[in-house]
Amino acid sequence: MQSMQATLGTPTSSALSRFSTSTQDKSSTAGQTSSTGPQPSRPSIIPPPSKSKGWSTGASGGRMRRIIAEDPEWSLAIVPLLTELCIQHIVENFQNNPILQQLLPEHKQKVLDHLSPDLPLAVTANLIDDESYWRRCCTQRWPVCHVAKHGGSWKRMFFERHLENLLKHFIPSTTDPALILDLLPLCRNEVRRLRVDQFLPPMKLPPRPRSGELSDSGSEGEVEEPTPDHYQLGDLVAGLSHLEELDLVYGVKDCGMNFEWNLFLFTYRDCHSLAATIKACHTLKIFRLTRSKVDDDKARVLIRSLLDHPALEELDLSHNLVGDRGARAAAKLLSHSRLRVLNLANNQVRALGAQSLAHALAHNTNLISLNLRLNCIEDEGGQALAHALQTNRCLTTLHLGGNELSEPTATLLSQVLAVNTTLTGINLSCNHIGLDGGKQLLEGMSDNRTLLEFDLRLSDVAQESEYLIGQALCANREAARQRAPNPSCFLSPITAKGPENPAG
C-alpha cells in the first residue's frame, strides 16, 4: 500500500531507476515520503529534490507501476527506514558530531542503545545521563558490577571505579598527573565515593639495585633520599564537589613474595597533604584510612585537621599503629565533631587511650558505634568505658573484642547492662572474662531488654551462662521485632547483624 502511495507520489519514476538504484536510494525515497514530518532538521539525509525530479521526468509511469506490483522480491521490510539510517549515522559519527539532545525520545533511546561503550569520556561524560549506556560501559569493563554500592547509579559507578582504577595505577613522577586531572571536569558531579586500596610508590629503579647491594637488613630510610611520596589527592578532591566518602589504603596489593616494608610507607608529606585535603573537603562524611601504618603522630595530624569538620560522620583508622596519643586525639575529635562511627580496630590503644576515649564518650551524644577490636585496653580501659556507658545515652554498638579484658570489666559491664537502654550490640569475644564474669554478665542481661547482640565467644565464659545469655538475646530480638512496625521483620536479625559484621 505504501509503495503504491510512494509510486503515486513519484509517478514518473522509471523502472530503470528503481532497479538501478541501490537499497539506500529506495529507502531514501521511502524515507522522504514517510519522514517528511518528523525529521526535517537533518540536512545530510534529505535527498536533493532535483534528483527526484530527474527521476520523475525520466520515464513513463504506467509501465513502471506494473513492474513494481509484479516484483515479488521487493518489500519494504528489507529497506531500513530513513530514521534508522540516520540513527546509524549519528551513532557512527557520534565522536565527531554528538547529536543527542535534539532527538525525539524514542530516537534518543535508539542512539543510546547503539552507542559504543568505547567512546571517549570527554564526549559522553557530560552528554549522556542514560543509565543503560553506562551500564553497558560498566559491564564491558568489569565482570562484577555492584551497582548498589554506588547508590544504584551506573554512571556514578563507572566514574567512581574508573577514577579508582586510575588512582590505583598511578605511579608518581612517572604517570602524567594530567591523566587524572583531565577527568576531573567530567566526573566532578558524579563521584561521591573514592575507595582506593592501593597507592603505588614512585618508581625506584636506580636505587633498587643499590639497596640490594648494601645489605639485606639495611633500613629503607637511609637508602632512599627522595621520600617515596604517593599521589597527592588535594587537587582531585578539591575538584569533586559531591565527594562524601574517602576510603584509602596506603599500601600495595598482591605483592606476594616481593614484599618490602617501604611499599607500605605512609610518609609525613602524604599525611600532611591528606590532612589538608580532608580539611578542605566540606562534604566528606566518611573517612577511612586503613592498613596504612598510621602511627600516633600521623593520626594526630589527621584528626587535628578533622576537628570541627561540618559533615564528617564516620572515621575509620583500623589496622594501623595508633597508640594512646592518637586515641586521645580521637577522643578530642569526639567532642569536637558530629562523629557517629569511630573505628580504631587493630591498633595499639592501651588503657590510657581507652580512658580518654571513655571520658569523651561519657557526655557524647553523637557517637553510635565504637570499635576497639584487637587493641590492648585491658581492664583499666574497659572499666573506664563501662563507667562512661553508665551515663552515655547514644552509643548502640561497642566492640571490645581481643582486648585482654577480664572479670572486673565484666562486673562493671553487667551493671551497665542493667541500666543502659540504648546499647544493642556488644562484642566481648577473645577476652578472658572467666566463669564468674560470665555469670555476672548473665545477671546483668537478665535486667536488660534492649541488647540484641552479645558476642562472648572464646572468652572463657561457662557454656551455660553463654547459652542463657543467648536465650535472653533471643527474647530481646523477638521483642524488638514486635516493637518494630516493619512487616518485613523476617530478616531483622540479619539486618541487625549487618553493622556488626563489617565491624568484626
Binding site: S318, H319, R373, L374, G402, G498, N501, P502
Partner: protein, 723 residues
C-alpha cells in the same frame, strides 16, 4: 534469598583482618583445629538446645495463636527457623575471624614474650662480650709489658683464642638470630598459607552457608507455600461444603415455595371461577338495569334536544341582540375612547396648567410672604413710629395744653384783673376772686397711672424723710399718694424691716457696692433688689405686701390687738387711713383686710421670713393671668376736656359780661366824648401853634429885605396853603 551484601562484606572484612597479620604463629595447626572443632561442637549443641527452646517457645506460641491461620503459623515458624539458621551460620563464619583474632592475640603475647627474651639475651650477650672484650683489651696492655717472646706468644695465642671465642660467640648469636629470622620467614610463608587456608575455609563456609541458607529458604518457602495451599484447599473445601449446604437449603426452600405456590394457584383459580360466575350474574343484572337507564336517558335526551333547540333559538336571538349591542357598544366604545383621549388631552392641559399655576402660586406665595414680611417689618416700624409719635403727640399735646392753659389763665387773670379794676375802680364794688378747681389745674386732665413699686418706694422713702423734717406740712400731701392704703410710716417701717431681714435676697456684689452710699439710697437699692427677687413689680403688689404683713400680724397674734388699738389711736391720721383702707379693701374683695389694725413695729423680725414665704406663695397664683392686659395702651379720656375748656371760657359769668357790655357801651360813649374833646383840644392847640407860627413868620417876613424888594414874593404865597 539471603542478600549477598552482608556476606560479601564479611568476606572483605575477613581479608582486611587477615592481611595485616603477617607473623605466623608457632603452634598453628593444632590449636586452631582444636578450637574449631570445639567451636563447632559447641555451636551444634547450642543449636540443638535453641531448637528445643524454640520448639517449646513455638508450642507456647501455638497455643496462644491457635486462632491464627496455619499459614501464619508456618510463616512464623519458618521465620524463626531461618533467623536461627542465619544466626548460626554467621556465627559459624565469624568463628573463623574470632579464631584468627585470638590466634593473633596469642601470637602477640608470644611475640612480646620472645622479643623480651631476645632483648634480654642480647643484652646479656652484649654484657658478656663486653666483659670479654675488656678482658682482651686488658690483656693487650698486659702483653705490651711482656718482654719474653715465649710469654708474648703464649699470650698472643690465648688472646687469639679469646678473640676467636668472642667472634664465635658473636657469630653464634648472629646465626641464631638468622636462624630465627629464617624460621620467621618460614612462619611468614606458613602464615600466608594458613591465611589463604583460612580464607579458603571462610569462603567454603560462606558458600556452604549460602547454599544452606538458599536451600532452607527454598524449603521454607516451599513449606510456606504448601501451608498456604493446604490452607487454601481447606478453605476451598469448607467453602464448597458451605456452598453445597446453602444450595441444598436453597433447593429445599425452592421446592417448598413451589408447592405452596401451586396450592395457592389452585386456590386462586377456584376463587377466580367463583368470581367469574358471580361477575357474570352481576353483569347481566347491571346490563338490564343499564339498558333501562339508557332508554330513560334517551327519552331525556330527546327532551333535552327539544329544550336545546329552543334554547338554541333563544340564544341565537340573544346572540343577534348581543351582536347588535356589541356593535353599538363598539361605537360607544370608540366614542368613549375618543372622549377619553380628548379628556386625557384636557387632563394633560389642566395638569400642565395646574402645575404652572402651582408654580405661579408658589411664586406668588413667595412674593406675598416676602411682602408680608416686609409689611410686618413696616408695620413694626410704623408701630414704633406710632409709639414714638404718640409719645411726641402726648408731649406736644401736653405742651399745647399747657400753653393754651397758660394763655387761658393769662387771659383769665387778665379778665379777673379787668374785672377787679372794673369792680373796684369803675363800679366801686368790692371784688372777690372766684375760686374754681380748674384754675388750679395744671396740665391735661388724666387718671392716676399705676406706678412701679420702686417709684412708690422712692416716694415713700423721700416723703417719710421729709415727714421727719416737716411732718405737718407733708402729711396732707402724702395722703394723696397713698389713698387707700396704710400710712407712710407703717409702710416705711415694714419696708425697713423687710430690708433688714431679707438681706439674703440681695446679691453679695450689690451689697459691697452699696456700702459707700447714703442710708436712704442704700435702702432704696436694697429694696429694689429684694422686690425683683420676690417678683413685686407694681404698686399694687407693694401694697399687697404691706397689707399682707399687717394681716399676718392680726392673724397670728390676736392677743396683741388690744395693744395695737391704743397705738393706732395715737395716730389719728393713720386711723383715718385705716378707715379708708377698709373701704378700699371692700372694693378689692378682700374681707380679711378689714381687721388690719396693725402696727408694723410689733412684727417680730423672725416672722418676716415666714410672712414673705406665705406672701410669695400667695402672690404667684393671681399674678399670672393679667399679664397680657398691659399691652393695651392707656387711652386718654377727652370727655372732660371740653367741659374744662368751657369752664375756662366761662370763668366770667354772664352777668358780669352783660355788665361789662353795658359798661363797654357806656364807656364807648364816654370815650367818644372824650376823643371828641381830645380832638378839639388838639385842634385848639394846633391852631394856637399856627397862630403863633404865623405870627412869627409874619414877623420874619416883615423883617426881611427881600420883602422889601418884593412886594409879594412867591414863597409867601405858597406857604400860606400848606398851613
Amino acid at each position: 534469598m539471603n542478600p549477598p551484601g552482608p556476606l560479601g562484606a564479611l568476606e572483605k572484612e575477613e581479608e582486611h583482618s587477615s592481611t595485616p597479620i603477617l607473623g605466623p604463629s608457632i603452634h598453628s595447626d593444632n590449636p586452631r583445629e582444636r578450637i574449631q572443632a570445639r567451636r563447632l561442637r559447641i555451636a551444634a549443641r547450642l543449636e540443638a538446645r535453641r531448637r528445643e527452646a524454640l520448639g517449646e517457645y513455638l508450642d507456647g506460641k501455638k497455643e496462644s495463636e491457635e486462632d491464627q491461620s496455619k499459614s501464619y503459623k508456618q510463616k512464623e515458624e519458618s521465620r524463626l527457623k531461618l533467623a536461627k539458621l542465619l544466626l548460626c551460620g554467621t556465627e559459624l563464619v565469624t568463628n573463623i575471624q574470632v579464631a584468627a583474632d585470638i590466634r593473633e592475640i596469642h601470637r602477640r603475647v608470644e611475640e612480646g614474650e620472645i622479643r623480651r627474651q631476645r632483648l634480654e639475651k642480647l643484652e646479656n650477650e652484649v654484657k658478656t662480650s663486653q666483659d670479654k672484650f675488656d678482658e682482651i683489651t686488658m690483656k693487650w696492655e698486659e702483653g705490651k709489658r711482656k718482654r719474653i717472646p715465649q710469654d708474648l706468644w703464649d699470650m698472643l695465642n690465648t688472646q687469639q683464642v679469646h678473640c676467636a671465642g668472642l667472634i664465635e660467640d658473636k657469630n653464634k648469636l648472629i646465626s641464631e638470630l638468622q636462624q630465627e629470622l629464617k624460621t620467621k620467614d618460614d612462619q611468614y610463608v606458613k602464615d600466608l598459607k594458613k591465611q589463604s587456608d583460612d580464607i579458603c575455609l571462610l569462603l567454603e563456609r560462606m558458600e556452604e552457608q549460602v547454599k544452606n541458607v538458599m536451600k532452607t529458604f527454598r524449603q521454607e518457602l516451599n513449606s510456606i507455600e504448601k501451608a498456604f495451599e493446604a490452607e487454601r484447599r481447606e478453605l476451598l473445601t469448607s467453602n464448597k461444603k458451605k456452598w453445597e449446604r446453602a444450595l441444598q437449603a436453597h433447593n429445599a426452600k425452592e421446592l417448598e415455595y413451589l408447592l405452596s405456590r401451586i396450592k395457592k394457584v389452585e386456590d386462586y383459580e377456584k376463587q377466580l371461577n367463583k368470581q367469574r360466575v358471580w361477575d357474570c350474574e352481576e353483569y347481566n343484572t347491571i346490563k338490564i338495569k343499564l339498558e333501562q337507564d339508557v332508554q330513560i336517558l334517551e327519552q331525556q335526551l330527546q327532551q333535552m334536544k327539544a329544550t336545546y333547540q329552543l334554547n338554541q333559538e333563544k340564544l341565537e336571538y340573544n346572540f343577534q341582540v348581543l351582536k347588535k349591542r356589541d356593535e353599538e357598544s363598539v361605537v360607544i366604545k370608540s366614542q368613549q375612547k375618543r372622549k377619553i383621549s380628548r379628556l386625557h388631552d384636557i387632563l394633560n392641559n389642566l395638569r400642565s396648567k395646574y402645575t404652572r399655576q402651582i408654580r405661579q402660586f408658589e411664586e406668588e406665595n413667595q412674593s406675598l410672604t416676602s411682602d408680608y414680611i416686609r409689611l410686618v417689618t413696616q408695620f413694626k416700624e410704623l408701630q414704633k413710629a406710632m409709639r414714638h409719635f404718640a409719645l411726641l403727640d402726648d408731649k406736644r399735646f401736653r405742651e399745647i395744653w399747657l400753653m393754651n392753659e397758660e394763655e387761658a389763665k393769662d387771659l383769665i387773670s387778665k379778665a379777673f384783673d379787668v374785672d377787679r379794676i372794673i369792680h373796684t375802680q369803675h363800679l366801686g364794688l368790692p371784688w372777690t376772686a372766684p375760686d374754681f378747681w380748674f384754675l388750679r389745674n395744671v396740665g391735661p386732665i388724666s387718671q392716676q397711672q399705676q406706678r412701679s413699686a420702686t417709684q412708690i418706694l422712692e416716694e415713700v422713702l423721700i416723703q417719710t424723710e421729709e415727714e421727719g423734717m416737716e411732718e405737718a406740712t407733708s402729711e396732707t400731701e402724702s395722703y394723696l399718694d397713698l389713698p387707700k392704703q396704710v400710712s407712710m410710716k407703717t409702710t416705711r417701717k415694714i419696708l425697713m424691716l423687710l430690708c433688714d431681714e431679707s438681706g439674703f435676697l440681695i446679691e453679695s456684689k450689690l451689697l459691697s457696692l452699696l456700702c459707700p452710699l447714703e442710708k436712704s439710697e442704700c435702702y432704696l437699692l436694697k429694696l429694689d433688689a429684694i422686690f425683683s427677687a420676690l417678683g413685686i413689680e407694681s404698686e399694687d403688689d407693694l401694697y399687697k405686701l404691706v397689707n399682707f404683713f399687717l394681716k399676718y400680724r392680726v392673724h397670728h397674734s390676736p392677743s396683741s390687738q388690744e395693744r395695737t388699738s391704743p397705738m393706732s389711736a395715737l395716730d389719728p391720721g393713720e386711723q383715718t387711713d385705716l378707715e379708708r383702707q377698709k373701704e378700699g379693701s371692700l372694693v378689692g374683695g378682700e374681707p380679711e383686710e378689714k381687721e388690719v389694725p396693725s402696727s408694723p413695729t410689733l412684727i417680730h423680725p423672725n416672722d418676716v421670713l415666714k410672712i414673705l414665704e406665705a406672701f410669695v406663695m400667695g402672690l404667684r397664683k393671681p399674678r399670672d393671668p393679667p399679664a397680657p392686659v398691659k399691652v393695651v395702651k392707656y387711652v386718654r379720656d377727652t370727655s372732660k376736656d371740653s367741659a374744662y375748656w368751657e369752664a375756662l371760657a366761662t370763668v366770667l359769668p354772664y352777668a358780669t359780661q352783660n355788665l361789662w357790655d353795658a359798661l363797654y357801651t357806656a364807656l364807648e360813649k364816654y370815650h367818644l366824648v372824650l376823643t371828641q374833646r381830645a380832638k378839639l383840644l388838639i385842634e385848639n392847640n394846633s391852631l394856637e401853634k399856627q397862630n403863633t407860627e404865623l405870627q412869627m413868620l409874619l414877623q420874619q417876613y416883615l423883617d426881611s429885605k427881600i420883602n422889601s424888594e418884593l412886594h409879594v414874593p412867591p414863597t409867601q404865597v405858597l406857604r400860606a396853603p400848606t398851613k
